[in-house]
Symmetry: D2
Subunit: 401 residues, 4 copies
Amino acid sequence: MPSGPTHLFIPGPTNVPEVVRRAVNVPMQDHRAPDFPELTGSIFEDLKTVFANSTGRVFVFAASGTGAWEAAITNTLRRGDRVLMARYGQFSHLWVEMATRLGLDVVCLDVPWGEGVPVDQYAEHLAADPGIRAVFVTHNETSTGVTSDVAAVRRAMDAAGSEALLFVDGVSSIASIDFEQDAWGVDLAVSGSQKGFMLPPGLAFLSVSLKALEANAAVDGTVDGTDRAMSPSYFSFASMATANDTGYFPQTPPTQLLHGLRASLDLLLDEGLPQVYARHYRLAEGVRRGVAALGLDLCATDPAQYSDTVSAIRVPHDVDSGDVVRIAYHRYRTSFGAGLSKLAGQVFRIGHLGDCNEVMCLAALAAAEISLNDAGAKIELGAGVAAAQAHYSQHYLEETR
Amino acid sequence: MPSGPTHLFIPGPTNVPEVVRRAVNVPMQDHRAPDFPELTGSIFEDLKTVFANSTGRVFVFAASGTGAWEAAITNTLRRGDRVLMARYGQFSHLWVEMATRLGLDVVCLDVPWGEGVPVDQYAEHLAADPGIRAVFVTHNETSTGVTSDVAAVRRAMDAAGSEALLFVDGVSSIASIDFEQDAWGVDLAVSGSQKGFMLPPGLAFLSVSLKALEANAAVDGTVDGTDRAMSPSYFSFASMATANDTGYFPQTPPTQLLHGLRASLDLLLDEGLPQVYARHYRLAEGVRRGVAALGLDLCATDPAQYSDTVSAIRVPHDVDSGDVVRIAYHRYRTSFGAGLSKLAGQVFRIGHLGDCNEVMCLAALAAAEISLNDAGAKIELGAGVAAAQAHYSQHYLEETR
Amino acid sequence: MPSGPTHLFIPGPTNVPEVVRRAVNVPMQDHRAPDFPELTGSIFEDLKTVFANSTGRVFVFAASGTGAWEAAITNTLRRGDRVLMARYGQFSHLWVEMATRLGLDVVCLDVPWGEGVPVDQYAEHLAADPGIRAVFVTHNETSTGVTSDVAAVRRAMDAAGSEALLFVDGVSSIASIDFEQDAWGVDLAVSGSQKGFMLPPGLAFLSVSLKALEANAAVDGTVDGTDRAMSPSYFSFASMATANDTGYFPQTPPTQLLHGLRASLDLLLDEGLPQVYARHYRLAEGVRRGVAALGLDLCATDPAQYSDTVSAIRVPHDVDSGDVVRIAYHRYRTSFGAGLSKLAGQVFRIGHLGDCNEVMCLAALAAAEISLNDAGAKIELGAGVAAAQAHYSQHYLEETR
Amino acid sequence: MPSGPTHLFIPGPTNVPEVVRRAVNVPMQDHRAPDFPELTGSIFEDLKTVFANSTGRVFVFAASGTGAWEAAITNTLRRGDRVLMARYGQFSHLWVEMATRLGLDVVCLDVPWGEGVPVDQYAEHLAADPGIRAVFVTHNETSTGVTSDVAAVRRAMDAAGSEALLFVDGVSSIASIDFEQDAWGVDLAVSGSQKGFMLPPGLAFLSVSLKALEANAAVDGTVDGTDRAMSPSYFSFASMATANDTGYFPQTPPTQLLHGLRASLDLLLDEGLPQVYARHYRLAEGVRRGVAALGLDLCATDPAQYSDTVSAIRVPHDVDSGDVVRIAYHRYRTSFGAGLSKLAGQVFRIGHLGDCNEVMCLAALAAAEISLNDAGAKIELGAGVAAAQAHYSQHYLEETR
């Protein structure tokens, strides 16, 4: 039986920094206390900074990212509304499923897994169909390691004169990869606590534009049996906003996680968002060079869309990626992400986001190499580590020049 | 500025036991790991024991208790369904509001705050209207300190031959006050992590009867624009059950809280549920004797309905209960519950549930006395403490006889 | 079996504030890292502030307070040196024992337990015997709750023209009760982490005057078999000072506790030492009024010497104080200090120091009352609490006037 | 500025396992409580198991390992006693210094750093000088990564008919490398909490044979000015034994660390001591193969004496090992041990003991490689990792065959 610490290299939930762990580990307090708004006010402000949302507002729900997806839809759309979506991985697939289940009229474009959002096809549909009420983009598809170009979707929408709302799933991108809500005209950006925010799971974040708030006002309200309104109650923007405006929550919030979020925001803003993004790029690029040196391919097909938070790595054809993941877990106390759905057996995934640095990525590659080797892959041990080392070393060489 | 530890005597969130705090404070792990079901399986089993639900199943969502309310409704009812509710405090009021917003046809009986569920009126309505699809009871109304007789409602339903589902809000009762889902024929019992379960907020529990599961199967499914189905997605029983059956969750669950729940269930079952309930009665009775010795009244009017988890205490007419709460907080680092809504200014509330014992209740009474005194109430300092001491002392005298 | 949190009212180790607990709970680090001195430098500075030692230096050893006693003696005295000590409680007694064991020629004055240092007798001895090399004072005798007048001893020494070193045991006073090393001419002040410093046990503190450092230089060095030098090695001032001057320690220090100490010093200095002392007086005075209202006597005989950190309370003659302590522990999860040595059975002790406030003292009195009652004492339940409440309430009345 | 977690690969203090961290993080308790002996009794028993000491007893002091050295000497020897020691690294050197300072008549054999205890020379001295009262062995010299043969020293003593006590410094070996107190006839074995016991620093352990206890009884007692007895007080075996026999300590012990020790002993005994030793060998051998693959030499000269807890690695002649350590720390958040004293600049050290496993060792090698590279060493990146991977992979291949 293996001993020693576990090693977590999944694309979320991510490792919680010590300072955040300590911030979370506080005694229970009264969430209706007079000084509670001192905590919440600064959190709302700084969350807006992370989302680069200067005019709208943010919401924090006790939920997973999936809850945030639902909140985004149910607060701004009506049953039967036609929306434009694309499916290029497991998480974009699940979002399509939810939208369908919630009664939206989903126009779904299927794209090979490994590619990103089909901007050109979106442009065509938007031009052809002015009735599209909302356009959905999964910014970072966690199952394939593909980062899509949200700004391009916005440009396509503008070019088509679309009045649709732009929904973005940023669960595995925001706070790790550059995200610009204002500049990209994103109306509803969704994230969660357990990825780039480096917190335990349990909080869902929404960052909402003024336009989305207006859409909410238009559809909100009590329904009767035939109404197309979705009438969210737990996830209601309106009741949340009313309470938040006084510094409180309409229900009991997870106060411990809010303290953790305060610490996490401090970490992000102290390092600086550009520096955070640059670090994620540097670490990811090292991993990618390591993968290439091992003679393996990424699931992502376009280098311009390689994700800086997760690399989905194709194993050789005669190897089962499930074996790699199992060996890593049972022999080496290391967690990698498995291949999901149609990628099962074909890829395993290394998360390199959040509280991460060079030595962690080298350890991830070393663990991947030995697990691949033990699973029967013919790879050169150490080669991936060496390539990543060279990249990281070069960075410091340049920096100190 | 006051120093030293804070003292939390609100009716939830409650103080987290040290062993639970430690259980929660674990590093992040992969919720899709091969051995994760070892954790979840035992949790589901033991939760059923706490709810006394031997045949149905339990659900655990990342949400507040309000989320569990919504899950209960949206998974088993349709828009336009007629339901019977009563409003006798702030939380039963909020449940009525949610039901209305979600599109139910609510028959709401208003009862003076301080009384419990109007069993006789329920009986009349049920007899008169066989179209009632669901009956709602707030088992323990946290705002007034009133515990209602759920078993009596079940008897009334049976007497009327009602086929309705019985919904019970047990957020501030379950795991503290006797609750018998099987015996009382409760179909959907709702609770949360932050009261009797002694955990941080963030988990919502539902315990569901077989009949409720059948109702779910009947209403579940994708909606079109005119369907009366509510189509919960985040809170979907079906997708949760499918994943739970394999030991996993459909989304990322708050793994840290699950470890805490494991520890909390161990605490409850090691002490023994009858012993837990007896302790809550003993502690509450001491507080009530203290209140009486101070010459103050409870908000609850019927001694048979006094709550063993929270006492809502009426302050003298010339005193503002808000002052009592503020003085306690700012001078004495002590949190009491304020009077909510129509009880604002008139009552303050002492929570005596969860990780609680005699000395804590004595401290709560001592803090209440000095805060009342400082707020201008003419009470005899120490009198409440003395009455509670006598009660607690008597208990041990009898026990050791 | 009782449930709920434990209640700790012993005169040390004291309750650790949450912020200190979190500060202690850090991962292991390298105590030889380049930036380690950033931590230690500020600690040494602020410790000097707490001891009011502006010219000498402080030492931090991994040890209990007893270790600090030994360090004080072995670094500055030689075997056979004549020293003046007094025995007025268990801890002054143990210090006499140690001094004797270490080979000092101890002149020991026995004083009834409950009185303080016999200043007049000290004056006589000092006048009569210029060969006294050191004078010892237990500032706060934890076993009897007596605080002695150190400044008066210094005046007596000066009046006698004594060149002796003045040793003070401040384990249960420093950081809680006014202590003025410079002003009182204290040469070696000894304390520990687990009382007023509100840390777990494990650190011993010495604050040393320039004169004591010179004494150390005079006696330090390797011994041969007949030398009278004591040759401390682990507790050597010289090797510690050499390492500390670079920001490091000669051995592996308890780094976690050093982080806790940093947090504890922040707490003390943020509140302000005069405010800390005033709070201890206020809390202690409330407890004393409560004790008087119960008709009980303190062990301390002179009100001018009542300790603000611990009250040793005499039980009625027909009651065994051991029963009080046992009942408190087993029935009410409450820890009081027992009567030590010749006070066994006669007194129990309430610690009211460190991370302490009004509601804690009221809880302590309430627990003491019920435990006394259950042990057979005829006391009026609630009377002690009431007297303390009146005192605490009065304080705020005056403050807000 | 680097981000992410720190990586600690020093030869102590070692990484604290999560379960131990949680065990340490408990509220303060009364160390004189009636049930405190339940904790201490099991600790003493299990410590004896770890030391393989079936007949003598163990002592636990609040101190560093250096304190334990002093306790061993001062409790069993007198000033002027002649003792046989050897100096083959920084820690054996410091022990010689302490023995000299404490007044022992030290016969010190100097051995090139990188070699172990000179058994043959010991044999000669013991044969020639029957007046040797004690023989000292540093089992694992942490500064050079050399493990000496304690059993051989015992055989040499027996062959010479020596009546001397056998002292062993096992600070960086015990609980990681095979240690057999009974079988090897060790009289005083010394260790500390912060290495193989995986605890924070703060506890010193001594495991003492019956013969050493008899020696203690013979020298113990109050001294006068000319006595050769060392009269330890804080470190007195006698007073510690008396208190321990009742389950208590003579002073306030670090209760939190005792809880941690309980958890640590559980970890060790659950894994099994032979399995713990085998794991340390396997991990160390992987590191050594990695070092060899990089073309670097160990400081240890005899493969039979390679340490399984720490590898001291010689850097190329044109590289400063201090640069390697600094680059690792500042660029890569990684702590290695520096070269101490005469090895400064020439070696850096990797600790591979305690809560350690394969991926940690691979990470350590990867961090060492990149740091060496950045410091100007001509090494092949990845080569060390590859060699270690091959070794670890081979282990599982054989195990599962």
